[in-house]
């Protein structure tokens, strides 16, 4: 669950990116955050990941109160959130397997569990034959699927996808969002930031529209998508 109560966020250079934003994303929701460049979409992600501190207001993410969280607890917060970025952000010198297993190593998972869980997650995103490949050897769509598998592997309560379709072909975009929908149907909350209206219209769901740092629309929209 993500809850923003009257949150204002200001960057160190003095730019206010969010103004008095209040919204609540319940467990199991699939929400699109829609807005043009500079509207404040990515700021919400930075706040959720504790990359940026709110200047005002209260933020609760998966039970962590980010206004009072200790620095030492930030890694624990981030372990409850899986993140998928527009630029994939895979570690180039690690294979697909190692990029995904890395998340489990961070949480000190047992080698036995890693050996069992990683191939399973790789199979979920359909990359069984690319296990030993390096990110540089994969297409954009394949890299994004690895990023998705990495976000999924430690079974997070929330997955944040920051413009996950921005660097891939349009037809692959639908595939990636389809995968996110499937993940959501298994109970994981998904928050996807995008500016692609076609995708939103196709898949439907909760739409939160942000303009100039304020929420201007927050409602459910039916889509043409069928699983």
């Amino acid at each position: 669950m993500v809850e923003l109560k009257d949150v204002t966020a200001t960057y160190p250079n003095g730019v206010t990116a969010l103004r008095n934003v209040s919204l609540r994303i319940n467990d199991g929701d699939f929400a699109f955050i829609l807005g043009s460049s500079g509207a404040g979409k990515s700021t919400i992600i930075k706040l959720i990941l504790k990359e940026l501190d709110a200047a005002k207001g209260q933020l609760i993410v998966n039970g962590f109160n980010l206004s009072s969280i200790k620095k030492s607890k930030v890694p624990a917060l981030r372990r409850t959130v899986g993140v998928v970025f527009q630029d994939f952000r895979l570690i180039p010198n690690m294979t697909v397997y190692d990029n995904i297993a890395f998340v489990l190593r961070v949480i000190d998972a047992s080698p036995k569990y890693i050996r069992k869980r990683v191939p399973y997650v790789i199979s979920l995103v359909g990359l069984q034959d690319k296990t030993r490949s390096y990110p540089g050897e994969l297409s954009g769509g394949q890299q994004q699927r690895v990023a998705l598998a990495r976000a999924l592997v430690n079974d997070p309560r929330l997955i944040i996808a920051d413009e996950p379709t921005g660097n891939i072909d349009p037809e692959l975009s639908y595939e990636i969002v389809g995968l996110l929908k499937n993940i959501n149907e298994c109970g994981t909350t998904v928050l996807m930031v995008t500016h692609e209206h076609d995708l939103v219209r196709h898949f439907g769901g909760r739409i939160i529209s942000i303009e100039e740092g304020s929420v201007v629309y927050d409602d459910y929209l039916g889509g043409s998508y069928e699983n």
Binding site: K71, P75, R78, R79, N93, V103, V106, R150
Partner: protein, 301 residues
Amino acid sequence: MRLSSLQYLSAQGFGNIRHNKLMSFASFCIILVSLLLVGFSLLFYVNVSSMIRNVENKNEVIAFLNEDVTDETIDEIKGHLDSNNNVLESVFYSKEEAFADLKMEMSADYPTVFDALDSNPLPHAFKIKIDNIQLLTDTVKEIEMYYGVFSVRAPYEFADALIGLSRVMTVVSVSIIIALVVVCMVIVSNTTKASVFSRRKEINIMRYVGATNAFIRIPFFIEGLVIGVISGLVASAATWIAYDSFVRILVEEEEVLSIIGLTSLIDFSTIAAPVVSAYLLVGAFLGSAGSVLSMGKHLKA
């Protein structure tokens, strides 16, 4: 943390050296050059100090005794000299020996100069070697106070020149070494910062997936440590070879050797253990601490 995690992080540290060959090689070269610059400066200083000390030991103070000095007094003076902390060596030089030496020295040019003498006019004396020439004046004053000592002749000018040279050498060497240490630290710090900066995305990814700062630091620490230790080993070998070759060249130059003295040159095998240990420790410290400290701003929560 599980043992398997530690093994994984260690393997990551070693793997990073291979994956980041260029930056690893740059760090290795910078640490190696830094170690060699400071190491050679220190060895130069140690050897020059040894040479000055060797020249210092060639000093000779002569204490002339009273004409009527008795054997008991001579023994007493010898006892005082032996117990003096700043006297390295003292040898009794009898008036007979002195006269014989004088005759031998002058007989070639002035064969009849001693014919008119009825008796030996020279006094008994002690030839004394001073340990620390910087304390020459005080030691001479002490010797002058011994009962039975008539006067003391000391090489004050020689001592002043040596003390001056020694001070200049110390100031110059220490300044150069400090300057080198500072320059090397700045260069090492910048190189490791560049190395870490080139991998800031990787560090960021680790943070996003919830890695603790310690988890992120360990591979960098191991990587820096290994590069530092390798630099230390190579620096030790290079210093050993270069130093031995230099000493061999000097030994062949008889003129140079007659000035500095063979014993002034310190044999590398006698200082190999501390030199190699220092290279390894400093290399390991520069490599590991450099890497870990350079990560600071990339690890903010």
